[in-house]
């Protein structure tokens, strides 16, 4: 088994992050926006793991633990986020984010 080039890992992470960001910015469906956010989080996790591979022993451990932490937070965040989506959808009967541009003067 050949070791993966760390640069490639980071490149993949950056690509995934950009994809997620583009989904967040371009899509109007709130569910897809949330999915984009998840993608961005996981890209960062991948980046952490990629770097931790480069480091020795104890320091490497921190790089592996942080993604676990992030995954737990992300689960909680998805919970709250989806609940909020349900709430606001009940009010307007739509999942189009542009329909919620209510913040006027």
């Amino acid at each position: 088994m050949t070791a993966i080039d760390p640069f490639h890992v980071q490149l993949l992470a950056a690509l995934l992050f950009t994809l997620g960001l583009m989904v967040v910015l371009a899509r109007r469906n709130i569910f897809l926006v949330l999915m984009g956010v998840e993608l961005m989080l996981n890209a960062v996790n991948l980046s952490f793991v990629g770097f931790s591979q480069q480091l020795p022993g104890a320091q490497s451990l921190w790089g592996q633990l942080t993604p676990l932490f992030t995954i737990a937070i992300a689960a909680a965040e998805a919970c709250v986020g989806l609940a909020m989506v349900i709430c606001i959808t009940r009010g307007k009967d739509t999942v189009d984010s542009d329909a919620f541009a209510d913040m006027k003067e």
Partner: protein, 687 residues
């Protein structure tokens, strides 16, 4: 004998009463009837009464030569200047305090009856007690700032009490007028005090006295020091003209009659308005040093006395007639000060307090009985009505005393003033010639006394000794004088007859003179020496029977004139044809002339200046800048808000772009730096 006596107790008691009654008034503000009137009046009368008792006790501790001076705490200390919160109790203070607290207590008792049915009873009593506290501080103060504190306090209470019935806009205007006129005088007082610090380096009365006693006389003093002293004397006298309603600051006192009658008696007749005379006597060392200023005081007092007496002739409102009489009598007191006869001036303050309080309270009893009728044209024959007997009797006493008929207290004190004027000296320098105007002023004072007799008899004629002009209905609704009002009236009525016997030369009675001699006599000697060099110590003590005779003849002549003119009631327009109680003479209020002058000289320029300031500074300058800033912010905000108002995704894109820009700032600046260094490198290669 000169053991320690806590002087602060005298002042603290009325303050306690004011705080208690003020708290009760506030606590009962929402209830239907207000706090218990019995309790309020107990506090209100007991506090000044106890002050009177303490003053008596302190006076019995007092020795003739050593005044009690007590420093309570250090007020402030800066550089070489040090000021304590000092109380000074000498014979002058004790005399003033005895009649201030004594007459004050009686008038508080009278107020209980007079104000009983008023909703603001507790508030009124709180103000009255606060006034007593301020007046006691004014008299008891051992240096000018403490006196000034009391001076401001009595001005404040005067304002509060003139405008006591604050639902009436005219009354509020009168209150404001009194306050503003007094402020002008107060400014003079302050500036005078500053000038005095320049000279003496201290504001303590005892230090000032010491400084003037050791002052280099005549040419040894530098002209600038002499100028400072003269300025101090004149400026402090300006303060006195404000408080004591002398020309030029007299216009507030007639309007001040808007307040309840006990207020007019206590503040605007007996005590507060005499504080100007007290201050001149207290600073006698200063005034005796500058005879020119004494002459100014003499002339001002004389003019005010004549003006007040003449104006009194034309009043229809019984209280305004008495107010002008007060102005005139205060003029008499300042005339006495003007020839350096401080003790005589204070004796007139003392007797005047009795008979003018009597007159005002008697008038108050009439006003109370007739349900707030003050127009004398609607009175007449009142002594025949049931319930008016006490008012009639005491007004007779007061009238007898102020006229100066033999036996009353006014006879004694006014005669003493006339004698001192006649035998006194007052140097007035016109150009290069010196004129002694004391005799001229004495004649003017004599004529004023005659006019006094006319207008006071007119008041009595219109009120009592003329055919009744009351409606039958009004006659049946006359209210009697309650006991709480009758008792002070009788005591004060007796006082206005008997007070003169404290200094009655023909009977070898000179308790008053001897009592004040240690404090005032040196200054009077100095004043006599300054006014007429070589005459030191030549103050008259013997009775001059010629002056007495002339004064008595003048009084009786005035009395007879008034009886003949007004025997059938008021002359001029009747109350029905001329419903306003404004004076009928010359068709206008008698301070009209002064009010007009102030309107042109002060009010109009102030208005113009404020208009100019309003348009140039307020609107153009300040307004322009602030509006510009506000408009700019509004435009920027509007512009930015359009971003927020648009779609959510646009905002997100912008915020991501912003984050990216922040991340890229470092590489970009580095790039610029690199590019510029490369450029300079290329340029250096080229040249």
């Amino acid at each position: 004998m000169n053991s320690y006596f806590p002087l602060w107790l005298i002042a603290a008691l009325p303050l306690l009463g004011a705080i208690l009654n003020g708290a009760l008034s506030l606590a009962g503000a929402r209830s239907a009837n207000g706090p218990s009137k019995g309790f309020v009046s107990l506090i209100a009368v007991a506090c000044p009464g106890l002050s009177f008792a303490f003053t008596l006790a302190a006076a019995s501790h007092l020795s003739a030569t050593a005044p009690m001076s007590q420093s309570l705490w250090t007020w402030f200390s800066a550089g070489g200047f040090h000021l304590d919160f000092t109380l000074l109790f000498d014979r002058l203070t004790s005399m003033m305090l005895l009649f201030v607290t004594g007459i004050g207590t009686l008038i508080h008792l009278y107020s209980v009856g007079y104000m009983w049915n008023d909703r603001g009873f507790a508030r009124f009593m709180a103000y009255m007690n606060l006034f007593m506290f301020s007046m006691i501080m004014l008299v008891l103060g051992g240096n000018l700032p403490v006196t000034f504190m009391g001076w401001e306090g009595v001005g404040l209470c005067s304002y509060l009490l003139i405008g006591f019935w604050h639902h009436n806009t005219e009354y509020n205007d009168a209150a404001r007028k009194a306050f503003v006129m007094n402020r002008i005088g107060d400014l003079g007082f302050l500036l005078g005090a500053f000038a005095l610090v320049q000279v003496c380096g201290s504001l303590d009365y005892l230090d000032i006295r010491g400084w003037f006693h050791n002052a280099p006389g005549g040419d040894a003093m530098s002209p600038s020091t002499h100028g400072w002293i003269k300025a101090a004397a004149l400026l402090i006298f300006l303060g006195c003209t404000g408080k004591s309603a002398q020309i030029p600051l007299l216009t507030w006192l007639p309007d001040a009659m808007a307040g309840p009658t006990p207020v007019s008696a206590l503040i605007h007749a007996a005590t507060m308005v005499t504080s100007g005379v007290y201050l001149v006597a207290r600073l006698g060392d200063l005034y005796s040093f500058v005879p020119e200023v004494l002459s100014v005081i003499l002339v001002i007092g004389c003019l005010t006395a004549i003006f007040g007496a003449v104006a009194g002739l034309f009043q229809n409102d019984i209280k305004k007639a008495l107010a002008y009489s007060t102005v005139s009598q205060l003029g008499f007191m300042f005339m006495a000060c003007g020839v350096g006869a401080y003790d005589v001036a204070l004796f007139h303050v003392f007797t005047h307090a009795f008979f003018k309080a009597t007159l005002f309270l008697g008038a108050g009893a009439i006003i109370h009985g007739l349900h707030h009728e003050q127009d004398m044209r609607r009175m007449g024959g009142l002594h025949k009505l049931k319930g008016m007997f006490v008012a009639y009797m005491v007004l007779c006493f007061g009238w007898y005393a102020i006229l100066g008929l033999p036996g009353g207290s006014g006879f004694v004190s006014k005669d003493l003033i006339l004698e001192r004027l006649w035998h006194g000296h007052a140097a007035l320098t016109i150009g290069s010639s010196h004129v002694d105007i004391a005799q001229i002023v004495a004649v003017a004072a004599l004529i004023t006394a005659l006019i006094t007799a006319i207008y006071m008899t007119r008041v009595m004629m219109l009120t009592f000794w003329s055919p009744s002009r009351l409606s039958d209905e009004a006659k049946h609704h006359v209210e009697g004088t309650p006991f709480t009002m009758a008792l002070p009236l009788i005591i004060l009525g007796a006082g206005s007859m008997g007070a003169g016997y404290l200094w009655f030369e023909p009977m070898r009675l000179d308790i008053f003179y001897e009592y004040l001699k240690p404090v005032l006599h040196p200054n009077e000697m100095a004043a006599a020496g300054g006014l007429a060099p070589g005459m030191e110590g030549a103050t008259v003590v013997q009775t001059d029977w010629l002056v007495t005779f002339m004064a008595t003849v003048g009084c009786i002549a005035g009395l007879l004139i008034a009886v003949v003119v007004w025997r059938k009631g008021p002359t001029g327009k009747s109350a029905e044809a001329h419903p306003s109680s404004d004076p009928t003479g010359f068709g206008a209020s008698w301070t009209w002339a002064f009010d007009r002058i102030y309107h042109v000289l002060v009010v109009l320029p102030t208005r113009w200046a404020s208009l100019i300031l309003y348009w140039l500074v307020e609107q153009a300058l300040i307004g322009g800048i602030t509006y510009a800033i506000a408009e700019l912010t509004a435009y920027l905000g509007d512009g930015y808000a359009t971003i927020q108002r648009s779609r959510l995704r646009t905002s997100l894109v912008l915020s991501v772009a912003g984050a990216a820009a922040i991340l890229w700032i470092h590489p970009i600046t580095d790039g610029i730096r690199y590019a510029s260094s490369a450029l300079s490198h290329i340029l250096s290669l080229l040249y």
